[in-house]
Symmetry: C2
Subunit: 176 residues, 2 copies
């Protein structure tokens, strides 16, 4: 067992001044923490009868595909607006300034299927909540939402996901 | 064993008129062809001593992360310009009109490491060749390039990758 947080690089002032970006490429590039992250998520959900793993582009796919493989589940791509070629469900979520839209194919989920959601990072929870609404709109049952990193402190992302099983491998406090 | 091509959806006129888009989300969403695709690639490269798997965003990550996990390799994210937070190598490649740039972190590869590249689709080979140049610029040894789909016929993508081990699971002919 390694300490996952030791493999996450802090990049100051990226993508904009004042943000301390948490870079997980340094975790992915090392097979030991990469594998351990995936194994921990699979271990937590392996007896839940997960039918599909849905992940949010692009970093979400890096772990999400492996998790789906190991859970014998199908994999669903949630993407930004306009990138999926078929009929989609859409959900809007708020950014600091303005809004953004994520989409999922309407035929990705059969009614009643159990879905595990994955993203690399839980911050304000806006994208995550929109992803939950997408899955539920398609008739799926959200069995949980897994993240590698949860930013804790002033962001309160977890509060937005109340009532769902949340697994975050690493907690990093963020100051206001 | 399933016929992988049966799970690839043809979307006419997407993203632009005249293009027959090959949609692999219908393959990913079904655990049987999804798993089989990954297993075939892992089987082909499992004795090659792969240190790192590098994939091109975003669909490349869906399979690439799982392949890295199963090969006990680290995973490298190759992204479009401006999306990676650290010091990058860049390579430019030609589009039908204009050029585009892909990037990889400079610390992603140690000199002499064996790298397997992955992308979902081989078309003209422009992006693939740029990805090979990125890996080699960083001192990596390209052990092969795996794709789910290879468009054959008038595009000649494979010719651009001469001298490298190419594995494509499904060949689809494209008419001029």
């Amino acid at each position: 067992m390694v300490k996952l947080i030791d493999f996450i690089r802090n990049v100051p002032d990226w993508p904009v001044d004042g943000v301390q970006f948490k870079d997980i490429t340094t975790l992915c590039v090392n097979s030991i923490p990469f594998k351990e992250s995936i194994d921990k998520i699979v271990e937590h959900y392996k007896d839940k009868g997960i039918d599909k793993v849905a992940a949010i582009e692009a970093r979400g796919y890096v772990f999400g595909g492996a998790i789906a493989y190991l859970l014998d589940a199908g994999f669903i791509l949630i993407r930004k607006e306009g990138k999926l070629p078929w009929k989609c469900y859409q959900e809007e979520y708020e950014l600091e300034y303005g809004t953004d839209i994520i989409e999922m194919h309407q035929d990705a989920i059969n009614k009643g299927e159990k879905v595990l959601l994955f993203d690399d990072l839980l911050a304000t929870g806006g994208t995550a909540k929109a992803a939950i609404r997408l899955v539920e709109k398609a008739g799926g049952i959200v069995e949980g939402f897994a993240f590698v990193i949860e930013l804790t402190g002033s962001l309160h992302g977890r509060d937005k996901l109340e009532g769902y099983d949340i697994l975050a491998l690493v907690q990093i406090p963020v100051e206001e």
